[in-house]
Amino acid sequence: MRHTISVLVENKFGVLARVSGLFSARGYNISSLAVSETLDPDVSYMTIVVDAKDEAVLEQIKKQLNKLIDIIKVTDFTRKEHVERELILVKVSCNAKNKAKIKALVDKHEGAVIQCKNDTAIIEAVGEQAAIKQLLDNLDTFGVKELVRTGKIAVAY
């Protein structure tokens, strides 16, 4: 099962390697990871989506993360009210005939067609993963050529 956790870390070189190394060394799976500075430039924020087969594994992941010296705080969003979003950039095939259809579909999902050149449209969309998945499913009929996603970011209330 997938769980979203956030990790506040000291913004020092090597911290990302400590976190990712911990996952690989202990056999945990990261399905996505997003990192950036916070308001405090000495602190970075990571949103990590992990695959954990049960609660015990999730517990271990949190404990092991907490054990790293540079980690300030671990938050598990599993049972916590929070907001999560992901940004995607997706290339789909487009032509004069379906251009309008694509635009209408993207508008419905509150995304944007950034560019439509030659035979390719680049679309951006932001949303929860279910909404993103639905958009991608719908875009499939036009032919998705390439997909880039940021991975989830999440923040608790």
């Binding site: 190394g21 271990q60 054990k67």
Partner: protein, 554 residues
């Protein structure tokens, strides 16, 4: 002050007295300052030995062990030592040279990404990028190494940082927002634990290395006697409770005593203190202590409920938490029937060995025990001799049994014994070794002779890599694939380095040789020619339930 001088001043402030190490190109500025520094510097003959010696020093004294090596190969030679210390939670600070800051990443001569390599085998590590951070980093390193669940910390210092000038300052205290070990148990959990203890009829105390680290031996004894519960120890816990105490069950697990394993499997309450339910202890997890509630006291939250589901977790320092429990404990359980059952197991299944024609290795260990009266510090290598030492040497005091438990590092014992002797010069220090293990760091004879470190090495020479051979005998149809050893003449090897060698081939010569070694003020190799195919029993086959023991049951 130069970076090298700052390093020296910082080590002085940290209270360092002994340093083990090896020089090289990228630590030349530091060694130049070490030349005049007040530390006892022990030049080992291999960096790995420097790491193990710092580790052994730490295990014997409780202080932070320090080792120094150069960049690249010097640093990579420390790896096994760091991993050994990490697995057994031993406080150490390793300082390595690094190529000049601007060369890092350029594949410079003797460059290796040492912080990268050591990340998973250190508690924390640092690459010093700015001389302004140097003294703070050293102070933090000692603090991190020695607090919470201890462990090795590595500091990688580029040569140019060693040469730069900056003023020296030393922090009065260390405050890390991201690192605050929990030292005392949660009062609510203490109450729950006490309730479970009072309600139990068949409690067993299962204590590990955490009790040694925390110095909890007195509290442990008081606790065990108060609730009248038998105590079994892990390999790392040996010494936390006297082996001669009537409540002692000795070691449990794969080569534990039958009565320890039966006790834990039939207990209704297991009180785990500073132990981590390692696979060598639990055997098959599905069948481990099914009828027992478990109280788990550990300073590392990640050790709790990692392998075994725990009913009452208590995060805290073993000594503090035992103190809290003792204070809260107004009533005590009635365990008299249980103690009778345990006593019956002890009588029925004692540890035994059967004398054959040659010297029994167990006999040698018993004789070392008798000759030293439990007052020695015993280090071991890894293999059959290690398990025999754990079974047959009666460890009475904490920090007097030094062994690589978690990593199982052959070659550990001899340099660790050297480190222990540097920390405890008044104690007799033995390394109980096998003929395989001793050859992994045999070059340290030179270190012992040059620095007058008179450790005694008892080589239980069976001409095999005995533990592997035992598994081949039992599980691989006697196919002894590459476990037969051709050995040098250990007596001559010792003598060639300037040490003393004694060969023992007859049982009656065992004790005189041990006595002579103890009386000799030099490093001594005693080459005991023991029964070649003796096995360590009892034994629980890997992955089997720990009450399914084979062999050695009377």
């Amino acid at each position: 002050m130069t970076g090298a001088q700052i390093l020296i001043e910082s080590l002085k402030k940290a209270g360092v007295e002994v340093i083990f190490g090896y020089p090289g190109g990228q630590v030349l500025p530091l060694f130049d300052k070490l030349y005049d520094a007040p530390f006892k510097f022990i030049l080992t003959r291999h960096e790995q030995a420097a790491a193990h010696a710092a580790d052994g020093y730490s295990r014997a004294t409780g202080r932070v062990g320090v080792c120094i090596a150069t960049s690249g190969p010097g640093a990579t030679n420390l790896i096994t030592g760091l991993a050994t210390a990490y697995m057994d939670s031993i406080p150490m600070v390793a300082i390595t040279g690094q190529v000049k800051s601007w060369l890092i990443g350029n594949d410079a001569f003797q460059e290796a990404d040492v912080t990268g390599i050591t990340r998973p085998i250190t508690k924390h590590n640092y690459l010093v990028k700015d001389i302004k951070d140097l003294s703070r980093i050293i102070a933090e390193a000692f603090y991190i190494a020695s607090t919470g669940r201890p462990g090795p910390v590595l500091i990688d210092v580029p040569t140019d940082i060693q040469q730069q000038e900056y003023e020296f300052s030393w922090p009065d205290s260390i405050e890390l927002r991201s690192y605050k070990p929990t030292l005392f148990g949660h009062p609510g959990q203490i109450k729950k634990a006490v309730k479970a203890i009072v309600a139990s009829k068949k409690p067993v105390i299962y204590a590990g290395g955490g009790c040694i680290t925390a110095g909890a031996h007195n509290e442990l004894k008081e606790f065990a006697e108060k609730i009248n519960a038998p105590v079994t120890l892990t390999l790392m816990g040996l010494g936390a409770f006297p082996a001669t105490h009537p409540l002692s069950l000795g070691m449990l697990g794969m080569h534990g005593t039958a009565y320890a394993n039966h006790s834990i499997m039939n207990a209704d309450l297991i009180i785990a203190i500073g132990a981590r339910f390692d696979d060598r202890v639990t055997g098959k997890l599905d069948t481990f202590a099914k009828g027992a509630n478990i109280i788990h006291i550990d300073i590392d939250p990640s050790s709790i409920s990692k392998n075994v589901a725990v009913h009452v977790p208590i995060v805290g320092d073993a000594r503090n938490v035992l103190g809290q429990i003792l204070e809260e404990l107004k009533k005590t359980p009635d365990t008299s029937d249980w103690i009778k059952t345990v006593e019956a197991w002890k009588k029925k299944h004692p540890l035994v060995y059967h004398s054959k024609g040659k010297i029994n290795p167990q006999y040698v260990i018993e004789q070392i025990g008798e000759a030293t009266q439990g007052d020695a510090v015993i280090a071991t290598e890894v293999g059959q001799h290690q398990m025999w030492a754990a079974q047959w040497y009666k460890v009475l005091h904490p920090r007097s049994f030094i062994s690589s438990g978690g990593l199982g590092t052959m070659g550990f014992g001899f340099p660790a014994a050297m480190g222990a002797k540097m920390g405890c010069p008044d104690k007799t220090v033995f390394d109980i070794a096998g003929d395989g293990s001793i050859q992994m760091n045999i070059q340290e004879l030179a270190t012992c002779v040059c620095n007058k470190i008179p450790v005694k090495v008892a080589i239980l020479n069976n001409g095999y890599l005995g533990m592997v051979r035992q598994w081949q005998e039992l599980f691989y149809k006697h196919r002894y694939a590459h476990t037969t050893l051709y050995n040098p003449d250990f007596v001559k090897v010792a003598e060639a380095y300037g040490g003393v060698g004694i060969r023992v081939t007859k049982k009656e010569d065992v004790r005189p040789a041990i006595d002579k070694a103890i009386a000799t003020d030099n490093v001594v190799f005693i080459d005991f020619h023991v029964e070649p195919e003796e096995n360590v029993f009892p034994m629980v086959p890997a992955g089997e339930s720990i009450d399914k023991m084979i062999g050695g049951l009377a």
